[in-house]
Symmetry: C2
Subunit: 126 residues, 2 copies
């Protein structure tokens, strides 16, 4: 294997690791939402369409575990909990935005390709 | 919601869609491997560490359905099948590489964060 191919392959393995981490897509969406600034759990839940309380809890714990977000408890009554991106988490914004822009730009093309593929499959099986 | 926040949110939803598509990570790895040029199934399987025949078949079909890869059958005996990125698939290389570079650069930092988090959790529960 050439050095260039090895480099490409190592990059791919690394991409797989990070995609396994943030690829559940709730994580990417949560990171994107925290880009606006620190927020409470309920604010996040309102902003992220369709996320359940349980899924958001798991997602935030995953981000905290990976060092991408912090969880700060303020001693109010009742205690309020605020989530924020860490400096490491903020470095993830650029690549996530890169994908988001790609998705926005090519969404219709992908949908057309799917419709064509599904149409061809239906014709083959009829 | 401000126009800027709405933009951020729409981008996030689009990112979620693309991550649901390529976020299984075998897809990203397959796209990355096809960056070297058209390849046969067996070549791809050799290059992608740990992928099963079934998983690679499903992944390639998903990429074909989304218009990101082509499948060409050559009338040899036995027939040989070659996979290649489409022009649309090639546009995905930059954002995927962006993530891969992020992952390569921050892999150790994430691992350290995980070790700290798991250590702290273990201390809390003992």
């Amino acid at each position: 294997m050439s050095a260039r191919n090895k480099k490409v392959r190592d990059d791919c393995v690394a991409a797989r690791e990070v995609l396994d981490r943030i690829g559940d897509s709730w994580s990417a969406l949560t990171v994107g939402t925290l880009a606006r600034g620190p927020q409470r759990f309920t604010e996040l839940q309102r902003s992220i369409d369709g996320v359940s309380q349980r899924m958001l809890t798991l997602t935030l714990r995953g981000l905290e575990r990976d060092g991408l977000a912090t969880r700060t408890v303020f001693p109010t009554v009742p205690p309020s909990v605020q989530y924020a991106l860490t400096p490491l988490g903020r470095t993830l914004l650029d690549p996530v935005r890169g994908l988001a822009e790609w998705a926005t730009k090519h969404r219709e093309q992908i949908q057309s390709a799917r419709d064509r593929f599904d149409g061809a499959s239906a014709r083959l099986s009829s």
